[in-house]
Symmetry: C2
Subunit: 637 residues, 2 copies
Amino acid sequence: MAAAPASSASAAGNREAFRVAVTNTLERRLFYVPSFKIYGGVAGLYDYGPPGCAVKANVLAFWRQHFVLEEGMLEVDCPCVTPEVVLKASGHVDKFTDLMVKDEKTGTCYRADHLLKDFCKDKLEKDNTLPPEKTAEFNHVLAVLDDLSAEQLGAKIKEYGIVAPDTKNPLSDPYPFNLMFQTSIGPSGLSPGYMRPETAQGIFVNFKDLYYYNGNKLPFAAAQIGQAFRNEISPRQGLLRVREFTLAEIEHFVDPEDKSHPKFRDVSDLEFLMFPREQQLTGKSAMKLNIGQAVSEGTVNNETLGYFIGRVYLFLTQLGIDKDRLRFRQHLPNEMAHYAADCWDAEIECSFGWIECVGIADRSAYDLRAHSDKSGVALEAHEKFAEPREVEKLVITPSKKELGLAFKGNQRMVLEALEAMSETEALNMKSALESKGEVEFKVCTLGKDVTIKKSMVSINMEKKKEHQRKFTPSVIEPSFGIGRIIYCLFEHCFYQRPGKAEDEQLNVFGFPPLVAPIKCTVFPLVKIEKFEVVAKKISKALTAAGISHIIDMTGNTIGKRYARTDEIGVPLAITVDNTTSVTVRDRDSKDQIRVEVDEVASVVKEVTDGQSTWADIMWRYPAHTASAAEEEEASET
Amino acid sequence: MAAAPASSASAAGNREAFRVAVTNTLERRLFYVPSFKIYGGVAGLYDYGPPGCAVKANVLAFWRQHFVLEEGMLEVDCPCVTPEVVLKASGHVDKFTDLMVKDEKTGTCYRADHLLKDFCKDKLEKDNTLPPEKTAEFNHVLAVLDDLSAEQLGAKIKEYGIVAPDTKNPLSDPYPFNLMFQTSIGPSGLSPGYMRPETAQGIFVNFKDLYYYNGNKLPFAAAQIGQAFRNEISPRQGLLRVREFTLAEIEHFVDPEDKSHPKFRDVSDLEFLMFPREQQLTGKSAMKLNIGQAVSEGTVNNETLGYFIGRVYLFLTQLGIDKDRLRFRQHLPNEMAHYAADCWDAEIECSFGWIECVGIADRSAYDLRAHSDKSGVALEAHEKFAEPREVEKLVITPSKKELGLAFKGNQRMVLEALEAMSETEALNMKSALESKGEVEFKVCTLGKDVTIKKSMVSINMEKKKEHQRKFTPSVIEPSFGIGRIIYCLFEHCFYQRPGKAEDEQLNVFGFPPLVAPIKCTVFPLVKIEKFEVVAKKISKALTAAGISHIIDMTGNTIGKRYARTDEIGVPLAITVDNTTSVTVRDRDSKDQIRVEVDEVASVVKEVTDGQSTWADIMWRYPAHTASAAEEEEASET
């Protein structure tokens, strides 16, 4: 929604060049590759190769530690295959669509909004003769793009004469395409199913069991990590828009009347970039806010939502996301579902602009109510009162006798319709009956209006004793797109530094030890047996300590070996240049220290477990001064 | 294939009662529940609730440590959505089927072999008047069940008059039903896809990149953990036969001419139950064998296969699988794919009988060749010779001139067919030409035979220098059904012990700390503030140490709280009965020791990380003698 900061063509060019450098390194070193490449690939499907897979496992392990373990969440694991009824209730069968147009001759499909967006952007960037009113018009179209109906989109496409980009053929009118992968469960062909578009529904349908598991107490959170699927019309932007991806979702169930959070104080002093609705609508920028203040001033709807925003900030920055390229953007009214109380996206800036990576939404009671209604199973919570409370309650008492006389065979339908009235409807009827003596009343099951007279029903507020309150909990949902976070992390951690040869640039992924795919390398300085024996001994100690590492016995120069491992973001390198002590080198500073062979695995563990930083360690061990044999390392080739 | 040991009806009854006790506990404590229960559920789909999900995460983390990290495997992560061409090449589109019959009136589907199996078993168990030849016949049918064709199955169903079990209606003839969930990729409807039935294909199609990543060296192994899908006709046996499941698969690529394994000595002394083909065919039982000997005597085809069998044994027993109910069963010739060199299943005995949980197969070069052929991309390895080698090679040299004169416009087809001859065909032609001067030769592209004369082609063995050897690697595949392993683990760890009340039986899951869903509980002995403060302090220290735990502040008796946590397999309980030291209790022995408050988190970590056992710890701390207040605990209610 919020426009990216205006940038000159050269800034765009730099971004493009940077992205090419990052993605080339990522694909060359097998962080990820297009899936099924030997068969030409499939758009929107990617494989994580060994280093990418390790980064992903580390991100997920940290997510489990930071959220599930530290918050005592109930983790569940539900299937991807989902029967239609569940996604009918959630609204996905009817509404999880994008508008599509077809090339009328070849049948090739395009996203209607993408074509219109590309057309407007192209005009704005390349047409120097554009009159000011046209510039304003195209900018307006871009701003409201997400809100356009199929008819409006179709009209614009016609008006601008937009044609199929590949063939210049005319396009069909836009029509909705459901983004779920459809399948059939069992052999009969009679049970349609879908691959889940999100993991959340698996939690909602289990609410009753989870609430019981939690001792029938609120609040509690359930969490799930798993695959989700969206059959995108025409995927682009690499890892950012894919047809299958890993989600990590939390559903925090809370009493709608009390959304305070006992641990809110733990995060309330945090300050970071926030982009409230107000700022966006008045054309201002994101600004640094204190989350405690944002909640107390009502910018953020409630403490629980604020608590999760704070925890997400800590999660992302500890992974290695640059805090200056991370902002929390509030949804504008037109972006938010009608039932949502408030919604903030953690957006991370990368070469594609600001990307939504985590959505943190207060979805009120919508999802539980939808599944209650569809399944007929009450998904609600109870609050037992310490003492019974006297409450005023509206009681509707139809007179069966009068109804029977008036409606005969239809008596039951009228009676049920009266009893099913909402409080407002009943109060309206009461006042109408009192003033006019009778009222027209629609009975859906009869498909017509009937006349209700004063004698047929009594409607009164009565005092009652209640021992508990029943309610549908609100749900606050932080939902993490793991692939998007990882891609942004790749960009934020990537840098280049000069190599030995002129103009040579060496690639480095400066991953924090927490996410580094491999924590450490072991190199014998030269290919002689006594060094190899020590290297193998160290490797064994590292394995026993659970530290992923590689041992490189090739005869390459030490500088080449460092460059190769810097490129996959290995934070520490052990060079075996002696049989009693070895050199440990830090990737980013290139500083080196000397550590005893027997101690080195525990030193590496200390740093990679996050108990110490390299700076802490540096002080404890003698610095290593490069010998003649290692001179070349100084210049890194 | 191997028949379960003959058992009396009472043994079957005991097994059944045991299974009910285990699964009731599992479902009641939310280890797993049928998915989408509020909508009536879907057969063959299950959710893991919090403790089940934690057990699964622990099993997978240990798998990564034991296989990926310790063996330096290349882990990858590929999508579930797979285009048709990949599964056409692998054979799944054509052959991944079960035979199905339909109720001719209602359309309900059944697995044909299941109906025949149930019929035979029922007859054997319940019909006392069965003549010996009929007994032999039914036993024979059960033995060859997996080998029956659709026609043979249909004939048996007709012969025995088997009808639909639910309605007694007649059944259709058996026909193959493909077990893959089908879907469509992208909006056009023109790109069929399937949800992968195994994770292995994602590795095979990446072989070229992975080989390069490994420095173009063999052997190496790639590994993948992920969801797989089988649209079962009529799932039964709970977690053992499901429509969606987690697989952990390893593809170890090796030179077919050298299947030795450098670390084979690490496992060669292991002894465990093996069930070689020979034993099965001669009606004997599984027996304890030394894996080193089994390989050297040729019972197991090669060292690499033997190494993985040993590693799988260590993996399963360290998880808590009872070694006396674990056997490695060799596939019989009729079970094995035609291309497989050897195949062993790790089978675990549970109340359903012996269940295949891990398959360890030498699949030779089949998969890589299939994808090479289909994609046209060479998936092969190279061995560079230290020195060029002189080899004899068959060289076929057609004479273009002679062929042109004889075949005119068909010359090219004949020439290509001659060049495409295999070595055997060429040598046959050579000897025929030498003895008879001419030979009939089938040219497929012409659809007819032509006459080849001696002057048209020369076929000779020639000496050539070769610098490298190109070959398609063999693949050895250990494939783990994670859900099946977990279910068997549940059964093997479950036991009951008497409670306080007469006839009361308390359930215990005796999980090793490695897999226990929650490592420790913290209970204030009585509900007073100073104990709660200490409990919270300990909880914080446990969280910081990454130890999953629950803190129970309810006022329940300590015995009740122990019983509740024994039932989900928590190995250690900390009772806060003092502000300086606390009681630590072991789940299985119920022994208690006293540990200082500040030390207790690290003691728990020592045991749950596997550095120490409870027996080790017991010696270091004073035993705790129950006070009057805890007397009740002695009797566990």
